[in-house]
């Protein structure tokens, strides 16, 4: 049995990790060309820096113990998020589950191999987010080698809790087939639930982090209470922290193992009864559902070409669960988060702290502020992946663009519309959030800033669209590949850096200029850049070069 589980896990894990191309198989080294290697590196540097800063601050106040509570809370939240998103795919919808079904594999073996695959993915997350903070904590507290042994035990044991718990929940939920009929509906429900949970946690954290009273001692105890409460709700976290802090090490190890033994028994009991049936039900759903006949009179309505074209792009974004989860969902979350933070800061922190209120009220909009706001908007735009995947999302259907009787130039602007619309929405949300927080910012300021944010949003979208047209990923097998293996995202980051640097330079030039004039000049400058890109596009179309790679 164990042999089969290892074999199945190996295959599934390889499938899961191969997409990232982290290792160069030929040279047997790390693949320096993979964008993920660089992203991981950047994240690792950022985590090292942040952990070090936090540890130094906590050390000054003699409160380094909060660090472990905090880091475990954060890592558990990250892992829960990751597992909730990937669990249903790994357990039910991934292609290899279908292939494994034809072999004489026991339910228990298949289920445990899926669990192990999830564990392996979680270990990578831990490697990125937990390993360095734990090492730094060890160094900072001058811990002995037993701490590091305990840290390894904690790292190995920690992900089992979210993985087994989420799997049990999904096994039960999938059993309720009447409510959850297909993959799309199911994933949508989870997304909504997920948004709810994350929002709840965000509010909880914001209330703690932006504490009503700036008094450090109170903030410190507030944070500790929040972390301890969250960790306590995750049963194994506090015992694991106790192991690291050398409090009743053996008792706590047995406590964790005891909890896992119970969870394992529950998982196997439920899994044996429902897992394979659940998979079969999921696969058979499409054919068994009652067909609803189409009402042609209602369904058919002549629309303008432009409207139909843009609508089709939005359908592609909202109708496909993977694209929705990877593109639209983060945008929704970003907008909600911005507003939640703004409201929490304004009505929780500032309302109860006169000093802070006075400080913020005394801040007036300057050219520097304008540049920071525009840079912030650009950073937010760089998270939108609509235009960078506009052609790739269509896959093989993208050739459609080339044989329909619609001018290429017109099609480019139509393709540019979805991200431009979303960028405008983000700009509005950002400016409203700024208006909420900074009392001195007037509605006139907001109205003057909006056009330049919109221009930058359109420009960003236009450039990314050109990149995707020039370097489309059309031959994908699953939608996940469109964004996860999309190296074009580098252009997004590079462009953002260019914009930020040019804004920093602009600030030096416009330092003593009236802000409205500065906004006007900046708007004209960015419109000019857009115009130049537009000329480039027209030339490329004329020379049949732009759409060359869409074949």
């Amino acid at each position: 049995m164990i042999k089969n589980i290892i074999l199945l896990t190996k295959i599934s894990t390889r499938n899961a990790f191969e997409k990232f191309r982290i290792f160069d198989k030929n040279k047997k080294t790390i693949n320096k060309k993979s964008i993920y290697v660089w992203l991981i590196l950047v994240v690792l540097i950022a985590i090292t820096y942040l952990s070090n800063e936090i540890l130094n601050t906590l050390e000054d106040y003699g409160q380094t113990n909060i660090f472990l509570d905090g880091i475990f809370t954060i890592i558990m939240i990250i892992m829960f998020m990751q597992i909730i998103i990937s669990c249903m795919n790994i357990l039910y919808f991934s292609k290899d589950v279908e292939y494994f079904l034809m072999f004489p594999i026991k339910t228990k073996e298949l289920l445990l191999s899926r669990i192990c695959t999830m564990l392996n993915i979680s270990y990578l997350t831990e490697g990125i987010f937990l390993l360095i903070p734990l090492i730094l904590y060890g160094i900072s507290t001058m811990a002995s080698y037993t701490y590091y042994v305990s840290a390894i035990i904690a790292i190995l044991l920690l992900p089992m809790f979210p993985v087994i718990l989420v799997s049990i929940v999904f096994l039960i939920i999938m059993k309720l087939k009447k409510q959850i009929k297909n993959k799309n509906q199911f994933q949508m429900i989870v997304t909504v639930l997920f948004i709810g949970i994350v929002l709840l946690l965000e509010v909880l954290f914001i209330r703690g982090i932006i504490f009503p009273n700036v008094n450090y001692q109170e903030m410190e105890s507030g944070l500790e209470t929040i972390f301890t409460n969250i960790n306590a709700s995750m049963l194994i976290v506090n015992p694991l922290i106790n192991i690291l802090e050398k409090n009743n090490v053996l008792i706590n190890i047995f406590k964790v193992l005891g909890i896992y033994a119970i969870m394992y028994i529950i998982l196997i009991c439920i899994g044996n009864k429902v897992y394979i049936n659940n998979i079969l039900k999921t696969k058979g759903y499409i054919k068994s559902k009652i067909k609803k006949k189409v009402d042609l009179e209602k369904s058919c309505k002549l629309q303008k070409v432009s409207k139909a074209y843009i609508k089709n792009d939005f359908k592609n974004l909202f109708g496909n669960t993977t694209f929705f989860m990877q593109i639209m969902y983060p945008i929704c979350m970003t907008m909600i988060t911005i507003l939640v933070i703004a409201f929490a800061f304004r009505f929780v922190s500032m309302a109860s702290n006169q000093e802070l209120y006075d400080l913020i009220a005394s801040l007036h909009l300057t050219v520097e502020g304008v540049c920071v706001i525009i840079a912030l908007a650009q950073i937010l735009f760089s998270f939108i992946n609509i235009s960078i995947s506009a052609i790739s999302r269509q896959g093989k259907s993208a050739i459609f663009m080339k044989y329909i009787p619609i001018d290429f130039y017109k099609q480019i602007w139509l393709k540019n519309m979805p991200q431009s619309i979303i960028s405008t929405m983000i700009s509005i949300v950002l400016l409203i959030a700024i208006k909420i927080v900074f009392i001195s910012v007037t509605w006139i300021n907001v109205l003057c800033l909006l056009p330049i944010c919109i221009i930058i949003g359109i420009l960003n979208s236009y450039i990314m669209l050109i990149v995707d047209i020039k370097r489309p990923i059309m031959n994908w097998n699953t939608e996940i590949e469109v964004l996860k293996q999309n190296g074009n995202k580098v252009f997004q980051y590079v462009w953002t850096i260019v914009v930020i640097l040019s804004l920093m330079y602009s600030y030096n030039i416009f330092e003593n200029v009236n802000i409205y004039i500065a906004i006007l000049i900046l708007s004209i400058l960015f419109t000019l850049v857009l115009w130049i890109f537009n000329i480039y596009v027209k030339k490329q179309i004329k020379n049949n070069k732009l759409f060359k790679n869409i074949i």
């Binding site: 006949k293 189409v294 058919c300 496909n320 896959g395 329909i404 009787p405």
Partner: protein, 241 residues
């Protein structure tokens, strides 16, 4: 009418995949495009429809150059691509409506045609389902319906028979004949020689980017040994090359 004039194409410099191709497809004609794998059939179709750039020469669709007046030329083309895996996120009816909007087909006309064509291809009951849930043959059928919806003067089909059930093949063949009878061009590539034999007014056999034969089946048989099957004739031409 489609005129292919001195068309050449190469993906790698110096290695022509299509070499000085000349072909005229008259109105009301069904022309079968035959050739082994890698002969250049799909490349020619892609150049005819504006998907691929033409290196040398030109292609005229009803007198409009696909190079110089692509918008006007494409208005008269209906393409069935080799892969029907398109717009999988849309429901069948959404896809047809999208095509209807792109080609600005009036509502009453659209409803009438969707009903007529989807019933003919046994697709009416599936129109409310997503294309991703369709079988290969059903996907092929929905693309065919989409093309016929705007009644292009020139119907170009890249391997249209693949994946279709016998009834759908029969219906499609009848439809192609009817379509040509109305004075339209039907140009299709296929590997199934019997289909070409039964359906085509003329056949073109290409290999390595060059036309090896152009004429009707009888001329082909006359040229080669008599009383041989089309399959043997095809093999003979390809091997001679």
């Amino acid at each position: 009418m489609i005129e292919i004039k001195n068309v050449s194409k190469s993906y790698i410099k110096g290695a022509k995949i299509i070499d000085n191709l000349n072909l005229e497809i008259k109105d009301g004609e069904i022309l079968g495009f035959l050739g082994p794998n890698g002969a250049g059939k799909t490349t020619v179709i892609k150049m005819m429809t504006g998907i691929l750039e033409i290196d040398e020469g030109d292609i005229l669709v009803d007198g409009k150059s696909i190079k110089d007046e692509p918008y006007e030329a494409k208005k008269n083309i209906g393409l069935i691509p080799d892969s029907p895996d398109m717009f999988l996120n849309l429901k069948g009816i959404e896809y047809l409506n999208f095509i209807g909007d792109i080609y600005q087909i009036e509502n009453s006309e659209r409803i009438k045609k969707i009903k007529e064509l989807s019933e003919k291809f046994d697709m009416y009951d599936a129109l409310n389902e997503k294309i991703e849930s369709y079988s290969h043959g059903m996907r092929q059928k929905i693309i065919i319906i989409g093309v016929l919806l705007h009644e292009p003067k020139n119907w170009i089909l890249d391997e249209p028979i693949t994946g279709l059930d016998p009834k759908a093949i029969y219906d499609l063949k009848i439809m192609m004949k009817e379509y040509a009878k109305k004075g339209n061009v039907v140009f299709f590539s296929t590997h199934i020689l019997e289909v070409a034999e039964n359906l085509c007014d003329r056949v073109v056999i290409i290999n390595k980017g060059k036309i090896l034969f152009l004429g009707n089946i009888n001329e082909l048989k006359e040229k080669m040994k008599e009383n041989t099957s089309l399959e043997e004739l095809f093999m003979e031409i390809i091997e001679d090359d």
